[in-house]
Every structure is written in C-alpha cells, then in structure tokens.
C-alpha cells in the first residue's frame, strides 16, 4: 500500500467517491465495480476503464477503512438473469466526509484530525 498521510485520499479513491456521489445524486445509490469504472472513465474523459487490479484493490481498501460498505446481490436474481452476481457498494457517511475534506483542500484535512482529537 502506498505510504500516505492518515486521512488523505489517493487519486483513485477520490475518483471512486466523486463518481459514486455523482451517481447517487442521479438516483443510483449503489454501484458495482464495472459501473464505477465506466462512470470514472466518462467523468474523467479517460481513454480506458480503470484496471481491474487498481479498481478492486481500492474498493477493498476503502471498504476496510469504512469509506464504503458493500452487499452481495441475491444469487438467485443473478442466476435468473444469466449473469454473475454483483457486489453493490455504497458510500458511507465517513466516505462522504472524507470527500468533503479532500475537496476542501489540505487546510481542512489537517484541521479535521486535530478537531477529532480535541473532542475525544
């Protein structure tokens, strides 16, 4: 895992949160891997979809750190449609807060941990 300051987001994490929030506003609160890869590609005018390894490693890491939560689709529903079942992710409150901090810039990102320490 790349070395980075606690509370900061990697570019891929920022892209995922950004795209996920955008999709939520448009009425899609849940997303699966390919869906977010496609959204990121379109939003960032990228030539290619995010690499499998990069995307799923980031999703796994973000879920472990509480920025995302996930739920597997009912296997029967997937089987009825003749496709693999999807893992649906959604952004948590912590994920939204992390995105707000990241958007606000390094000043707020640096203040936030101090504020949290002060309230503990």
């Amino acid at each position: 895992m790349p070395r980075r300051k606690a509370g900061t987001l990697l570019p891929i994490e920022l892209s995922i949160l950004d795209s996920a929030i955008y999709m939520r506003v448009r009425g899609a609160p849940y997303f699966h891997g390919f869906m977010i890869a496609k959204e990121i590609k379109e939003r960032e005018n990228a030539r290619l979809l995010t690499a499998h390894g990069t995307l799923y490693k980031a999703l796994d890491r973000m879920e472990k750190s509480g920025l995302l939560t996930s739920e597997w689709e009912d296997p029967v529903a997937a089987a009825n449609e003749g496709r693999p079942r999807r893992r649906f992710y959604s952004v948590t409150a912590a994920g939204e807060a992390a995105l707000v901090r990241a958007r606000a810039g390094p000043e707020l990102a640096a203040i936030e941990p101090k504020r949290r320490l002060a309230t503990q």
């Binding site: 390919f34 890869a37 290619l48 499998h52 990069t54 995307l55 490693k57 496709r83 893992r87």
Partner: protein
C-alpha cells in the same frame, strides 16, 4: 476476432485464479466473482453498443496488465493479514525443492519405460519382453511419482503408492540392488516426511 476476446477474458480469469491461490475460500470466491461480473458487464456493454470484439479484447488485456502490480500487492497484503497457522516440515521450502529434484529422475525413468515398451529401445529378445519390461519400468516410477505428489493431500494413499512403486522398481532392477534399494529407501523416508508420518522436528507456530 471473437476468439481474441475470449482469449483476453480467459487470460484475465486465469491470472485471477493464480493470484488468489492460497487465500481463504471466501476471499477467493469474492474476488473471482467480482472479476467475472466486471468482465461480463464489459462484454455485454460492448455487444449492446456493437463495438468490435477486438477493441474490447484489447481494453480487457490492458486493464488486466495494468492492474497486475496492484493484484500482487493486494495478494501480499491480504495473504499477510490471514492467520498463518502452522508451517510444518512437510510443507517447508527444502521439502518442496526435494520433491522437484526427486521428480526429475523419476520422469527420466518413465521416459525410459516408454522407450522400451513402445519404441523397442533396449536389448530384449522379442516384442512381448519389450512391452513387459517397458511397462514395468514405466509403471513403477510413475506410481512412485504420483504417490510423492499425493503425499500431502492424501498421506496414506500417497505413502502406500511410494512404498509399492519404489520397492517394486528397486527389485525389478535386482542386479543393481546395491544402488536401487538404498535409493528406494531414501525415497520412502522422504515420502514419510512429506506425508507427516515422521516427527516434525522443525514445527513452528506463527503468531496469529
């Protein structure tokens, strides 16, 4: 060029199967299903949008290759996060190396048996003798080899196969018994270690 798309999907799936090896079954199944789902959706979307299969295949290949470093680091992190359990002597690196080194002469003996049985190699009186001796030279190392590789997964069956194969092979070449019998015994002792029948002197507990 549909085959190229199938190849790209197959390579991505095969790579996934490789790097998730050794992880808990739940973690393996989850990663496999996520990749399968992703590939299915990409292919489906390309079909709906009537994109040429070659372009989709290239994109899948690039996504796969560009993600390989992340897959490896994810595998290392995920593997390291799992409880390691017990590393036993029959699963140690020297035992694995020993297994490979023992397999090589056994493979050579198998090839020798094939040459005698089916290509009239060696100095025998007639074709019946060729086939009989060839099969004997072929089957004994083959049984030993399979037994050695089975020893960890099925210790009793694997060990029994090694004992039967190694001793039969040693006795078939009775005129060289001073070499073949000690070699057979060495192989049997190795198999006993690999099957976990001998004391595990180097057993160590990894912290969970």
């Amino acid at each position: 060029m549909r085959w190229f798309l199938d190849l790209a999907i197959g390579l991505t799936r095969s790579w996934t199967a490789v790097y998730i090896r050794g992880l808990p079954s739940e973690t393996r199944a989850e990663r496999r299903e996520e990749i399968d789902c992703d590939l299915w959706h990409q292919q489906r979307l390309a079909d709906l949008e009537r994109e040429p299969p070659t372009g989709t295949a290239i994109e899948i290949l690039v996504r796969w290759l560009a993600g390989v470093p992340s897959d490896i680091t994810w595998r290392l992190e995920t593997g390291a996060a799992q409880p390691k359990g017990i590393t036993t002597m029959n699963d140690s690196l020297p035992m694995r190396i020993g297994l490979v080194l023992l397999s090589l002469p056994l493979l050579a003996l198998i090839l020798n048996g094939v040459a005698i049985a089916f290509f009239d190699a060696g100095d025998f009186n007639n074709s019946t003798e060729h086939v009989a001796w060839g099969l004997a030279f072929l089957l004994t190392p083959l049984v030993t080899l399979i037994g050695l590789w089975l020893c960890r997964a099925q210790p009793r069956l694997g060990f029994a196969m090694v004992v039967v194969g190694a001793l039969a092979g040693a006795l078939i070449m009775f005129w060289m018994a001073f070499i073949t019998v000690p070699m057979a015994l060495a192989v049997i002792v190795f198999a006993a270690f690999r099957a976990g029948f001998l004391p595990r002197s180097s057993t160590r507990q990894q912290p969970a």
